[in-house]
């Protein structure tokens, strides 16, 4: 059980969006940038320059750090005693993604498989679908969750992005903390009676399982 209501939670998001309107626009543009580079044929695959994949990874990492530091650290913390732990989780994931991006960026897949389409779909949902559903079903403007600002949108967007990456050992590693974040999102969905966020949980657990399955398949082929 959580010590805040759905109304209070949306009120918090509305206040953050109002306070940080400029950053909401920047986050939206950054999300579009990541989505476009993931979708674009020549930039999305494994033959694309490493610098592109590095930038993509850093952009996603920045979203996790911002969601942790700003949403959990600044806005949720006064209302929820567990917010510092969530902040630590999101910042840790951001640092992990940044490290991977610097050392050996996650490259896109060579083929547009159904898994890649699923990943793209989740990215679109995180970037546009979730905010629209929030506006339709929630209390209204400006209470919507934006990628790079709020944890659920960031989680589902990242899980989608991971599904578009080449499967290797770094993929399950970077999908582990999103799975934890997704599990938390599911608990919150249950506690606040906001069932559309169970999709976040499904995406997060699914991304981790897909990453592990991809790793196993690749290992089997190499043998």
């Amino acid at each position: 059980m959580l010590p805040y209501s759905l109304e209070a939670w949306f009120s918090l998001i509305a206040r953050m969006n109002a306070d940080l309107a400029v950053f909401v626009v920047i986050a939206l543009l950054l999300g579009v940038f990541v989505l476009a580079l993931t979708w674009w044929p020549r930039l999305a695959d494994h033959k694309a320059p490493t610098s592109i994949h590095r930038r993509l990874g850093l952009a996603v990492a920045a979203g996790w750090i911002a969601a942790g530091a700003v949403f959990h650290g600044q806005y949720l913390e006064p209302m929820f005693f567990g917010a510092p732990w969530l902040m630590a989780l999101f910042i840790a994931q951001g640092l992990l993604l940044a490290t991977v991006a610097f050392v050996h960026p996650l490259a896109g897949t060579g083929a547009v498989t159904p898994m890649v389409w699923l990943g793209r779909g989740l990215m679109v949902y995180g970037l546009l679908g979730m905010p629209l559903l929030d506006l339709l079903l929630g209390p209204g403007w400006p209470a919507f969750r934006m990628v790079g600002m709020t944890p659920e949108a960031m989680t589902v967007f990242t899980c989608g992005w991971l599904l578009t990456r080449q499967p290797d050992w770094r993929l399950p590693l970077t999908a582990l903390l999103p799975a934890v974040a997704g599990a938390w999102a599911g608990y919150q969905a249950l506690a606040l009676d906001w069932p559309i966020d169970w999709l976040v949980t499904l995406a997060a657990i699914g991304a981790l399982l897909a990453a592990l399955a991809g790793l196993l398949t690749r290992a089997r082929r190499s043998n």
Binding site: P3, L6, E7, F10, R15, F81, G138, G140
Partner: protein, 316 residues
Amino acid sequence: MNTLSPTRRAFLRQLGTLLAGAAAWPSLTLAGAAGDHATPSVPEGVDAGRGPLDAAVPGTDERIPKIGMGTYITFNVGPDPNARETLAQVLRTFFAMGGGMIDSSPMYGTAEEVLGDLLAKLEDTDGLFSATKVWTRSTSGGEQQIDDSLALWGLDTIDLMQVHNLVNWREHLATMRARRDAGEIRYIGITTSHGRHHDELERIMRDEPIDFVQLTYNIVDRSVEDRLLPLAQDRGIAVIANRPFRRGQLFDRFADHPLPGWVRRLRHRQLGAVLPQVHHCPRSRDLRHTGDFATPAHGAEHGRDVRTAARCRCAT
């Protein structure tokens, strides 16, 4: 902004539940309790002059209203001005109807801050009985939480300070006694909820000089009747029952059932008024009536509740 229709109803119902004033006055509606009107008001049909039921704090001459108000979730609204205005109206109605005890905790996020802000703005808070808690494993953190609560509520003295869910209770009780001696706390208590830690709670009640104990007690959760309530009576410890309607679940459970005949004969005929009255029911009294709630479709669990409710009509 728009409203969240289904959840807003639940929100209002929870506010009404927290007020729990329905148990003390006839014709109190949840909408009235939650404050749909702009001015402080006593809901239509309520005899405010009659005042609420009250009870003495054991060992003292002080009497406080039996119906109190919790702040978990409902007062944790942050700076939202609309939510604060709604809560201000709840508080106005609460005090206008003779309410007294308000219970909070540092665990409840911004609840204490919101409460303090609203209390400072209200014209009339006579009868306020402030109750809050210490909730931390750290002893020095407990000292800090007491300081914070005094500041957030805007009070020089907290009426009741409780150890929340028995966390680090030995150290916190020692701290509270020292603060009571310094005049910053009047009563000391300890809390639990959801039926947890009853064995340890019983030991504390036997061994420690405390004034209040807070525990979960409602028509479904009745395990405290076996040992804890008799012990509290023997030791002269005041009892606060939390979750009297299981966060509103009991309203959902019984909402679609007609009230049994024996309830229709009561002065207080609403479900919110009927359910808490089992609190005073001796278990040994077995009554003949089995209640109209019970239907085959609702199975044994409902049937058990209904029999319990029926058994306890003696309390009315």
